[in-house]
């Protein structure tokens, strides 16, 4: 079934206030720019957002934060965003900080029908508070729960019209697992090819996980820390 849609605004229009959305990307790398902008324009409120980071003040998920659309954020690192600090301190924003590997595994578990798993990550720290602890082979582990989203928004490099996805370099990051963990998954991509053009051995996200594909244009792909070779930087 071809899944290519013309209009991200139509799809985003179905997202209800209060929804849980999963958003791909690491920092500003590999984020679904179009979806974030469409959600901002639509003004959907009280969102629970699951994403490794929360963008910067004027880009990425920072746009939704600035617009006060986020009620709760589940992330591993939010240090690049000043708006975040303000809303958190004022109590407007609820935050669940999760170790990055645990966040990734919780999302993967959500997509894979695993309701909970054990990890040593966070044992003996604040993260373990309130979580069941169990010993395996003499070592302590904590139980972590799966995450599933009402919607998952991912950014891929290429899609075919069935929704098979291929990512590029480190823009892959959380996107493939987030694609599996949304009840509805929307992929925005830089290029759409005909069915059969992607090598089936090289597909990162099989079409079964993707409900809608959107062709994006004019990706800004902002860079947070443009770091150059020292010779170049000086020279």
């Amino acid at each position: 079934m071809h899944k290519v849609e013309k209009n991200i605004h139509e799809i985003v229009g179905e997202v209800q206030d209060g929804a849980t959305i999963l958003v791909g990307g690491f920092g500003l790398c590999g984020i679904p720019e179009l979806a974030i902008e469409a959600i901002r324009q639509k003004g959907i409120k009280d969102l629970t957002v699951v994403s490794n980071n929360c963008g910067v003040d004027d880009w990425g998920l920072g746009l939704l934060l600035a617009n006060k659309q986020i009620k709760k954020m589940i992330a591993s690192y939010v240090g690049e965003n000043k708006t975040f600090e303000q809303q958190f301190l004022s109590g407007e924003l609820e935050v669940e900080l999760t170790p990055q590997g645990t966040l990734a595994e919780r999302i993967r578990a959500g997509g894979a029908g695993i309701p909970a798993f054990y990890t040593a990550t966070g044992v003996g720290t604040l993260i373990a508070e309130g979580k069941p602890v169990k010993e395996f082979d003499g070592k302590e582990y904590i139980e972590e729960r799966a995450i599933v989203g009402d919607y998952a928004f991912v950014k891929a490099w290429k899609a075919d019209k069935l929704g098979n996805l291929v990512y590029r370099k480190t823009a892959r990051n959380f996107n493939p697992i987030i694609a599996t963990a949304g009840k509805i998954t929307i992929a925005e991509v830089e290029e759409i090819v005909e069915v059969g053009e992607l090598n089936p051995d090289e597909i990162h996200t099989p079409a079964v996980f993707v409900q809608h594909v959107i062709l994006g244009e004019g990706y800004e792909k902002k860079i947070e820390k443009r770091t150059l070779k020292v010779e170049e930087a000086i020279g």
């Binding site: 690192y77 590997g101 990550t121 370099k169 959380f174 860079i223």
Partner: protein, 216 residues
């Protein structure tokens, strides 16, 4: 040589040829520059890259290619990209030989605190809690005392922990300690530093190795 340089130059000795290594953000990242050029080491970046290369020149800058510190990087020949779940499968599953991380406090039991200071804005732990539990060896590098002159090597950490009993080795500009069943052991002194100097600047109790190495 600055304090940082000293620490970094000592830290690089933890990396053997052929190892898979994760270097934390900040000072640990500098260790990469010191790896002998004839070593084949793959540097892992927890956002999904094994085989980090040097920073790019202008023409190589690619917004789709960053490290865990969100800096633009390159990838070495033989590098691979993967998703975040696989990246932490690598880390949590014990496939990373060495992780070198910065620290705010280390306790004599090998506890590490390096992610939050109560009262200051919480930024998040990123991948640090996974790394300290998963890497085969966890090396912490940090200055021996704070800018207020207080020992950062504590009997008990005062800051919220990143991991409990997770540090294998601690490297400061003055000394190197190992964490063993018997306790924290001083194994190396920097040039011109005495055991008494270390006792004075270290809140934690420690043993002194029989094979203590002194750098002339």
């Amino acid at each position: 040589m600055s304090v940082k340089e000293r620490i970094v130059k000592r830290a690089v000795k933890e990396i053997g040829n052929g190892m898979n290594v994760n270097l934390g953000i900040g000072m640990p990242t500098l260790v990469a520059n010191e790896i002998p050029s004839d070593y084949q080491v793959l540097l892992q970046s927890e956002n999904g890259l094994l085989g980090i290369g040097p920073y790019p020149d202008e023409s190589e800058v690619d917004p789709d290619l960053i490290n865990a510190g969100k800096e633009t990087v390159t990838a070495v020949p033989g590098a691979s990209f993967f998703d975040s779940a696989e990246s932490f499968a690598m880390i949590r599953g014990g496939h990373i030989d060495v992780a070198i991380l910065g620290g705010m406090e280390v306790s004599e039991k090998g506890d590490l605190a390096n992610w939050m200071i109560p009262g200051k804005m919480v930024k998040g732990m990123g991948g640090a809690m996974d790394l300290v539990q998963g890497a085969k060896r966890v090396i912490v590098i940090m200055e021996h005392v704070s800018k207020y002159g207080e020992s950062k090597i504590k009997k008990e950490c005062t800051l919220p922990l990143t991991g409990k009993k997770v540090v294998h080795r601690l490297i400061t500009e003055l000394a190197v300690f190992d964490f063993t069943e018997k306790g924290m052991v001083l194994i190396e002194l920097a040039s011109g530093v005495s055991i008494e100097d270390i006792r004075e600047k270290t809140e934690a109790d420690f043993l002194v190795s029989e094979n203590l190495i002194k750098y002339a």
